[in-house]
Amino acid sequence: MSGGVDSSTAAYLLKKQGYNVIGVTMQIWQEESECRMQAEGGCCGISAVEDARRVARVLDIPYYVMNFRDVFQKKVIDYFVREYLDGRTPNPCIACNRYVKWESLLQRSLEIGADYIATGHYARIRHLENGRFAIANSATAAKDQTYALYGLTQEQLAHTLMPVGDYTKPEIRAIAEEAGLPVAHKHDSQEICFVPDGDYASFIERETGRKLPSGNFVTREGKILGKHRGIIHYTVGQRRGLDLPMGERVFVTEIRPDTNEVVIGKGADVYADTLKANHLTFMGIPDLPLGEAQHFLAKIRYNHRGTGCTVRRTGEDEITCIFDEPVRAVTPGQAIVYYRDGYVAGGGIIQ
């Protein structure tokens, strides 16, 4: 329970359905001293704990705070920092879901005698004809909540409930209000929770304890265009904040950590029609045999609407995706998630 309206209402709905519900808030990154200073917002601050506790009180369910700071540091923050230093753009929510929420929290929950963990995601878990579990977007969701969940295993999905997936956000707010939950009007959380100000570069510098050197903006051909502020300030496809007087719109098309260069290109250069991915996982389909290709709808970032794509297994841990039409800003470190009939079939990390 993040203290937000979705997980609070999830608890309420499950209780109403007759489940024996235990509320849990994960303490994952904030130190207590910082907690007290952060008045509101975010998903894991002290106000989140206080709100969640109040909701649990209203629902009359047991409530606990569980500490996952160590695993969060190792699996999410360290990974986040490492990826940026390698010139890639990570998605920490994916890592958090896979290793913290659905590994450590699930393990802890099963330990204390629970059968399922439930979340406030606007998504549904479908039991497919082939016997597999897969996450499907709730038809009415304004925002996609399936992308960051693509890495869950069958075992994890078998122990997961997403009770708000059957409703729209306004419906959930109405239910929360009717139930007298004190968080019905709370704002949605935004951004990456451990970088509430959105300044990733400063966060990484604080974490690593060093300032990253500036380097050159270059063209693909190697022509030096100017100085950049350090590669962690940039992501593929970025246009703003480059400060390059080029007389036309230019974009980051590549980050080269080895030479500390940021490659700049024009509009057309940001589009690509193919990519390779590894760290493969499968959800709705059991596997994709080597050499075989199938057609899916694929998303290459959280807010991507999806593009038709032929996915071919080209290695033990590699797929090669060819898009029906070029896609903008293929970004190493982000996930490609491919869908069939609205459910997640599988995914991997873009190389």
Binding site: E32, C35, V49, V65, M66, N67, E111, I112, G113
Partner: protein, 457 residues
């Protein structure tokens, strides 16, 4: 419900509550006023002050009431730092202090230019008085060492440290929040200049504490305002609270000998039963069951003799329903060293391959109240700095469970608790990949030390 978290807080004793009640709606006068009911309030405060002074052997005008133990600690440290600024900025403390001391020292270090020496402790949590002496510099203005640790119950060699501080003309403060009302304390015998305590830790109410300040200490006021508490702590007095802490102090003084005796019996029983029923455990803090070792001081032999007496008397101890004075103990307990070096009510175990958090939750589901370390505002758990300071690995520190008894606990309750722990630990280990690895002989290093310790018994 079985309540084993008396270090977090205690039940306010009914007789304490009855003494407090008139000071809410009947005798509600402001003690600073001149009329009759105001004088009643004033007199009640004086009585409370006398009661506390009597317990620690101080003068009454050396007792200052505060809102809590943390305020007392903050006051002692910050005000001493200001008052003795001419002499220097160096403070000596330990790595196992309560956050009220630790964070205040860190504040003084960060914001006010203090230099802090954080002394190590041994594997039982004991500070070496010789290390205190070595740390003293010409510009040392304050030594602050807790009387007894809140997590693992270690009683620190406060008297030795006090003597050293006195010899070097350095001010000595002790955070006695966990010790006051639990073990005998005398400020002259211990040579302390300042001592903090909190009402709700010894069956008094929450929201009231005190700071003892020796008469010749130049400490300044902390809360500025009216002339209350000899001009040193402004704010209209919390009369019912002060009445409560005074009543609780009297009660603690009266029953101390019996309380200690009974708690030591229960504590040793609990320690023994856990070791007998749960494999792969480590007792954190001083071990009352440990055989006397030749290199240890005479004090320790005393301690074992003293505690052995209680272990032998176990049966009779449990049968005793009422608390009464025990002259012998009253006399001997004047010396803290006779108690051994562990608080009578503290038990702290690490369970290998178990997440303390899960254990606590499952105990709560069985209506057993315990703790993993110090309670914190968010109710979450950080790896304990105390357990780290005594050399525990992160995983053992995470597997720690603190149970702090009261004289109201019964042997039957402890039997229930031991069975619950045994079952829960068995279940949690059954689900732990680390335990599986350990069983198949793949787990090394970290666990070996602990296992050999338990196996040696």
């Amino acid at each position: 419900m079985i309540y084993l978290d008396n270090a977090a807080t205690t039940r306010t004793a009914p007789e304490v509550v009855s003494e407090m009640l008139p000071y809410f709606s009947e005798l509600y006068g402001n003690p600073s006023s001149i009329y009759g009911i105001a004088q009643e309030s004033k007199a009640a405060i004086d009585k409370a002050r006398e009661s506390i002074a009597h317990v620690i052997g101080s003068r009454t005008d050396e007792i200052y009431f505060t809102s809590c133990g943390s305020e007392s600690d903050n006051w002692a440290l910050k005000a001493a730092f200001e008052a003795y600024g001419d002499k220097g900025k160096h403070i000596i403390t330990t790595k196992i202090e309560h956050p009220a001391i630790r964070n205040t020292c860190e504040y003084l270090e960060r914001e006010r230019g203090a230099e802090i020496t954080w002394l190590d402790v041994d594997s039982e949590g004991r500070v070496d008085p010789a290390a205190v002496e070595r740390a003293i510099r010409p510009d040392t203005i304050l030594i602050s060492v807790m009387t007894a640790n809140n997590e693992i119950g270690t009683i620190e060699p406060v008297r030795e440290i006090g003597e050293i501080a006195r010899a070097h003309h350095v001010l000595f403060h002790t955070d006695a929040v966990q010790a006051f009302g639990q073990i005998p304390l005398n400020v002259d015998e211990l040579h302390v200049d300042m001592l903090s305590a909190s009402g709700h830790k010894f069956n008094g109410p929450k929201g009231v504490g005190f700071l003892y300040i020796r008469r010749d200490v130049k400490i300044r006021s902390f809360l500025h305002g009216g002339a209350q508490e000899h001009n040193r702590r402004a704010g209209t007095e919390n009369v019912p609270g002060i009445v409560g802490i005074g009543a609780a102090a009297r009660r603690a003084e009266t029953y101390l000998g019996d309380k200690i005796k009974k708690e030591i019996g229960l504590r040793n029983y609990l320690i023994h039963q856990i070791r007998a029923n749960v494999p792969n455990v480590k007792l954190n803090g001083p071990d009352p069951e440990a055989p006397v070792q030749t290199h240890q001081s005479q004090n320790v032999q005393h301690q074992n003799a003293f505690q052995g007496q209680f272990v032998n008397q176990e049966q009779s101890v449990y049968k005793e329903g009422s608390l009464h004075q025990d002259e012998d103990i009253q006399k001997h307990c004047a010396l803290t060293s006779d108690l051994g070096n562990r608080l009578p009510n503290n038990v702290n175990f690490s369970f290998e391959f178990v997440e303390g958090e899960s254990l606590l939750i499952m105990l709560d589901m069985r209506q057993i109240c315990a703790s993993s370390g110090s309670a914190c505002s968010s109710g979450s758990l950080s790896p304990s700095h105390v357990l780290k300071a005594i050399g525990l690995s992160d995983s053992l520190a995470h597997g720690a469970l603190r149970m702090t008894l009261s004289e109201e606990n019964t042997k039957e309750e402890l039997d229930t608790v031991v069975l619950a722990i045994r079952d829960i630990v068995r279940r949690l280990r059954g689900m732990s990949p680390k335990y599986e690895a350990y069983l198949s002989g793949n787990e090394q290093a970290e666990t070996e030390a602990v296992y050999s310790e338990t196996a040696a018994e």
